[in-house]
């Protein structure tokens, strides 16, 4: 099977990337998806397959030189595909109303991205990141760990670019709120 995925991409470099990811991170993706799917192996296989297809679609933006970055990317995609899979299985509709929140951004007088934080706030931020819902944290992981642009994240996760922007905005708002609660001036 491993010979099939490379045939779907152009260029030797990209083919090597796919082989590398498949050989080294299949099990990692499966485990990540399995955490959400209660380790149902049959479902996990389908999810990992669709995750790999998604990686193939976006192979140009995948950087395999940093192990943590690759694992992060694979983990995020596998987790998102697993969530999509569960939603489809339960016939649930995404409840996140990204478009409405987008209006909040336009009307907001403070951009969380321009905030200054000091080092004391760092631990609080890290702790709050651990508590962030996956849907916010995943886009942030891709943005801040993999240095991906919002457009690339949108393509990878099957979202609109504005939805990605909204999720990042909301994540920052949550972090900002947490800092305020601790009376840290932001």
């Amino acid at each position: 099977m491993i010979s099939i995925y490379p045939s779907m991409v152009d260029g030797e470099k990209n083919k090597n990337k796919i082989v590398f990811i498949y050989e080294n991170y299949y099990s990692f993706m499966a485990y990540t998806a399995g955490e959400i799917l209660n380790h149902s192996k049959h479902d996990v296989e389908d999810v990992v397959h669709s995750a790999i297809l998604k990686i193939i679609e976006n192979i140009d933006v995948v950087d395999i030189t940093d192990v943590n970055k690759v694992k992060n990317l694979c983990g995020v995609i596998a987790r998102n595909k697993a969530i999509d899979f569960l939603r489809a299985k339960k016939n649930q509709v995404l409840s996140l109303d990204d478009d409405n929140v987008f209006a909040e951004i336009s009307g907001s007088d403070t951009d969380p991205g321009e905030l200054l934080v000091n080092i004391e706030a760092y631990d609080i931020i890290l702790e709050e990141i651990r508590k962030l819902p996956d849907i916010y944290r995943d886009v942030c992981l891709l943005k801040y760990v993999n240095s991906m642009k919002e457009k690339e994240i949108a393509a990878l996760l099957g979202l609109t670019e504005s939805a990605v922007g909204v999720r990042i905005y909301r994540a920052k708002q949550i972090l900002k709120e947490a800092l305020r609660k601790e009376n840290i001036d932001v």
């Binding site: 099977m1 491993i2 099939i4 995925y5 045939s7 779907m8 498949y22 050989e23 080294n24 299949y26 099990s27 990692f28 499966a30 485990y31 990540t32 399995g34 192996k41 996990v44 296989e45 397959h49 297809l53 193939i56 943590n68 694992k71 992060n72 983990g75 969380p112 991205g113 321009e114 905030l115 200054l116 934080v117 000091n118 080092i119 004391e120 706030a121 760092y122 931020i125 890290l126 990141i129 651990r130 944290r137 942030c140 992981l141 943005k143 801040y144 760990v145 920052k172 972090l175």
Partner: protein
């Protein structure tokens, strides 16, 4: 204490979280035990891969291939049916003789148009030239409807000149390892096949209802010269 923009802090914090999260997973070897690369579902993967590559359902891909294959077969069949008679007609018209079949290695001729009231006579032809070595061994056989000049030098060399009423003869010429040409000599269209390696060949033509055939181990020039001098 230092200040940084939140973007830099967020990058650091999220990277630390990612490292922390990744390190919380079981080891790679353990993961591979838990989730080995599956060997089943190969067909499904292959189908999906094909669909992904072509951007279409696999059924449509195969349907398209089948339709294309059918069209090619139909076109080839039509071409073969259409062209075969044309080849035959081409030879018939060009060489003004009755080519009955043409395939890879053989051209066959049928001579069946003899007029009942013809006044032609096989004995009226004069053979004006024979190579010197064959003159000495010439044997002439004259029958009612044919005349043969048979010259046998030894086991490997002979020359035969055959003059017949055409309707009595069916002729096949091999085109394998020989050069096949058609030349006009003495206003007759002559079919010449010659094997350069063996230094032997055949030349034949029809004159009215008479078929003249020369076959033997002579040089190409000698063969032509013999033909030119049969009048």
């Amino acid at each position: 204490m230092f200040n940084k923009t939140s973007e830099e802090v967020l990058s650091k914090a999220f990277s630390e979280y990612a490292t922390e999260k990744i390190s919380s997973y079981p080891s790679d070897s353990k993961l591979k035990e838990m989730y080995p690369i599956p060997k089943k579902h190969l067909t499904i993967y292959r189908r999906k891969a094909q669909e992904h590559k072509h951007g279409k359902r696999i059924g449509l891909i195969y349907l398209k291939r089948i339709v294309v294959a059918c069209l090619v077969i139909i076109l080839l069949t039509i071409s073969a049916v259409a062209v075969a008679p044309q080849v035959k007609e081409y030879f018939t018209k060009k060489y003004k003789t009755n080519v009955s079949n043409v395939d890879d290695n053989v051209i066959s001729f049928n001579f069946d148009s003899r007029e009942n009231d013809t006044d032609q006579d096989v004995n009226s032809y004069v053979i004006g030239y024979l190579p010197e070595e064959y003159k000495a061994v010439e044997e002439i056989n004259i029958y009612r409807q044919s005349r043969q000049h048979i010259c046998i030098l030894d086991d490997s060399r002979y020359l035969i000149i055959d003059i017949n009423f055409a309707d009595t003869v069916e002729l096949s010429i091999t085109t394998e390892n020989v050069s096949y040409t058609v030349q006009v000599i003495n206003d007759n269209i002559m079919h010449i096949s010659y094997n350069d390696e063996e230094q032997c060949g055949t030349i034949h033509w029809t004159d009215g209802d008479i078929l003249i055939l020369i076959s033997g181990y002579v040089s190409y020039d000698e063969l032509i010269k013999i033909a030119e001098n049969i009048k």
